[in-house]
Amino acid sequence: MSRIQTTFAALATQGRKALIPFITAGDPHPDLSLPLMRALVAGGADIIELGVPFSDPMADGPTIQRASERALAHGMSLRRVLGLVSEFRRENATTPVVLMGYANPVESYGVEAFARDAREAGVDGVLVVDYPPEECASFAATMKAADIDPIFLLAPTSTEQRYAEVAQIGSGYIYYVSLKGVTGSGSLDLDEVAQRIPLIRQQVGMPVGVGFGIRDAATAARIAAVADAVVIGSRLIEEIENGDAESATERVTTFLAGVRTVMDGEAP
């Protein structure tokens, strides 16, 4: 069983839901990325989503774009992100790491080389935001052959036919985008989420995580009541931004632990 499957299976037996924090690798500085990953685990992360910075993050809001720009200014690259994951793996063999980013850095690296090196580094899943299923059949197959889960997005606007396409090509879990907009925007419709998730889960046969627009513990808990995982990104990056870099790890652990407590308390 993959690390991602093992994680969801273990949580299911405990009646808990996965907490998936997102940070951008290299933000605020590459030297802080490994300490921040440790801080996420200390705060209760079940899976870590690691953003691969890109110069033109079209689907992200201003917060994650700023994080990307800070990381790139410090010379972060896909190659260095893989190095970071290897370092993390030396000390943590259980927490799954999912890379999230855009197609161009991966294509520039070379898909075959990326699959090989990502597997070597201990990457568990890859979500390429601008690879919809119709453009990446061969990419997804290459990832699967390297035992890496190709993870896909579904949105409130996705049709049931999209569910089927994503179920066929993806694995690991589904990332449900909980609002119409970019990452970090504020108009989350909880009722809509509650209605959609059971339907999606039934059709895709994978755990369903929800993200985009989750900004506090209470919302996370309400999402956790219906979904299998809660993804928190922009809010966490704001936590990193608001204060000095050295104490960012403490702020991240404190914030995430707060979410974890409320989430576990209210999850069924």
Binding site: F54, S55, D56, P57, M58, A59, G61, P62, Q65, R66, E69, L72, S77, L78, R79, Y102, A103, N104, P105, V106, E107, S108, Y109, V129, D130, Y131, P132, E134, E135, F152, L153, L154, A155, T157, S158, T159, R162, V177, K180, G181, V182, S185
Partner: protein, 403 residues
């Protein structure tokens, strides 16, 4: 591959031109693009839509635009005869309006009351604001904050036309960032908003749709050249940033194997300076803004900042159909530096009494390079895609003159 021997029927149903094009966007945009594809495919087949488009082009834009034989300039160059397709005479002063009218009519047909656009120098923004005023639509234009500063007159023009101009502060604060921001607006307001992309790039169906709306340029040339010069040209020359004016004039000539198609990219300060916008000449395949195409990028796949004296060519990507035309060999792509373009700009002003846009000046400069190498009975057709009134400030600055 000998494409000329085959019927040219691209893109495929998924929007691919060989390995290029496609739909590389986040899931959140997929349904909006599906809706657009469906609406465009029904409009494209509807004689009433076509008639309305033609009516607007004739009575609002002033089409057909003439072809002009630049005889003095040709004589002075001492070789091939240069003919200019006068898109500079269109309403709003460039070819951009053709596409904006098409997309605005489509937006109206789809019941979308709000249009958005990205703009670099402001030409596409002005054209979009113009058609929004014409059809009574709300209009928001995204423009890099650097460009807002450099193009104050066009910002004011858009405001006069009733548009809201939003300065974009992210990234390099130029065209590509404005495009990112417009995409974000679209994904957030999908229900009531139509995104009018200004060039033959972006996710399918944009490259095809914008090309289709611009092919009126080449279709007119096909009729006008035999009338004026008794035959079709030996070469068609157009500047390429995103590449919409070039696709518009090239496309109808693709089946004419004897007509050379030449796209001219901006070499800025020179290809070796790193300060240029020559994606096809100096870039490699990549994915940006919803399509796979040639892209200027660093070794890590990060999109690099570009330079050209003409803001309209200052873009790191290029329309995917140009990528395909290059690989297949049907079109040839060359480069012209800032200085060469400026020289052609001044020559056309002095010798023909036409002030060309700096973008179009790149095509003119290549024609000036090519003409003396050819016999006097050879015909070069250059797309004069826009007029240069907007460039007064830039040209004056380059000549060390202050207003």
């Amino acid at each position: 591959m000998q494409m000329q021997d085959l019927p040219y029927n691209l893109p495929d149903a998924g929007g691919h031109f060989g390995p290029y094009g496609g739909v590389f966007v986040a899931e959140t945009l997929m349904p909006a693009l599906a809706e657009l594809r469906e609406a465009y495919s029904s409009a494209r087949a509807d004689p009433e839509f076509k008639a309305e488009f033609a009516y607007e082009l004739k009575h609002y834009v002033g089409r057909p635009s003439p072809i002009y034989h630049a005889k003095r300039w040709s004589d002075l160059l001492g070789g091939a005869q240069i003919y200019l397709k006068r898109e500079d005479l269109n309403h709003t002063g460039a070819h951009k309006i053709n596409n904006c009218i098409g997309q605005a009519l489509l937006a109206r047909r789809m019941g979308k009351p709000r249009v958005i656009a990205e703009t670099g120098a402001g030409q596409h923004g002005v054209a979009t604001a113009t058609v929004a005023a014409r059809y009574g639509m709300e209009c928001v234009v995204y423009m890099g904050s650097e460009d807002v500063k450099r193009q104050a007159a066009n910002v004011y023009r858009m405001k006069l036309l009733g548009a809201t101009v939003v300065p974009v502060e992210s990234g390099s604060k130029t065209l590509k960032d404005a495009l990112n921001e417009a995409m974000r607006d679209w994904v957030t307001h999908i229900g009531n908003t139509f995104y009018i992309i200004g060039t033959v790039a972006g996710p399918h169906p944009y490259p095809m749709m914008v090309r289709d709306f611009q092919t009126v340029i080449g279709e007119e040339c096909k009729l006008q050249m035999p009338e004026l010069a008794a035959r079709q040209p030996d070469a068609v020359i157009a500047c390429v940033g995103g590449g919409s004016n070039a696709m518009g004039i090239f496309y109808p000539y693709i089946p004419f194997a004897e007509v050379k198609l030449i796209g001219v990219e901006a070499a800025g300060h020179g290809l070796n300076s790193g300060k240029h916008s020559a994606s096809l000449t100096a870039g490699r395949s990549g994915v940006l803004h919803g399509n796979r195409t040639y892209l200027l990028q660093d070794e890590n796949g990060q999109v690099t900042e570009t330079h050209s004296i003409s803001a309209g060519l200052d873009y790191p990507g290029v329309g995917p159909e140009h990528a395909w035309l290059k690989d297949s060999g049907r079109a040839e792509y060359v480069t012209i530096t800032d200085d060469e373009a400026l020289q052609a700009f001044h020559d056309l002003c002095r010798l023909e009494g036409i002030i060309p846009a700096l973008e179009s000046s790149h095509a003119l400069a290549y024609a000036a390079r090519l003409a003396p190498t050819l016999a006097r009975d050879k015909l070069l057709l250059v797309n004069l895609s826009g007029r240069g009134d907007k460039d007064m400030h830039t040209v004056a600055e380059a000549s060390g003159i202050q207003f």
